[in-house]
Amino acid sequence: MEYQEKRALVNLAATIILFAVYYFYVYSQYKELGVADGTDLTFWAKYILWLIPYMVILKIIIHIIMNIITVAVTKQEPKDFEDEMDKLIDLKSSRNGSIVFMLGFLFSMVALVMGYSPHTMFLIIYGAFIISGILTEGSMFYYYKRGV
């Protein structure tokens, strides 16, 4: 398996685990605080905003650890530049993830229109984040494996 395929798989696994851990933490906070309907928006907005730096920082750490392990095992420094194929795969994977997130966002709006609570809307948006993240990384692995 090539370095880029391994990196895509590691990113996929990391995305699933990090999202799951974060979701359980947020859900436990939600239950603990006993958030009333009126303060739902502030609570969810805060935790969705915190999700971004959480994911960015932890993914950087995972990337560094993966590079250290790669150098230790293969005794070669992995090439850290993106050529045209890497850029095309990145573009197509991001496109796939963005489409799914947009669909999830629209679905959350439909849920609001149908009378569901803001709590449900944020859960759908959060779910869309997770699925789009998984699809983006999964697409990268697929394109590296099967070609683009």
Binding site: E2, Q4, K79, F81, D83, M85, D86, G147, V148
Partner: protein
């Protein structure tokens, strides 16, 4: 409906050029080894610029490295 296919002789040319490795060719063309692997296996069609760089690495014209084939879809013939 015609299906386009770009074929290449990269593997053959590598062996004819002192058994050049994929990594060496990748370094000459300025791409990763995985891109060369993908091109050889027909999983990726290189850009025009990359195609010229690969041909330059072998010091041969572009048409000796890459060829274009048009294949008719079987369904359209039936």
């Amino acid at each position: 409906m015609a299906k386009c296919q770009i074929n290449n002789n990269i593997r053959k040319l590598r062996f004819e050029n002192n058994e050049m490795t994929q990594q060496h060719l990748a370094d000459l063309a300025g791409v990763t080894r995985q891109t060369i692997v993908a091109i050889e296996k027909g999983k990726y069609s290189p850009s025009l610029e990359l195609a010229f760089k690969v041909a330059l690495a072998f010091k041969v014209p572009l048409e000796e490295v890459f060829s274009y084939e048009e294949q008719e879809n079987n369904k359209s013939e039936k």
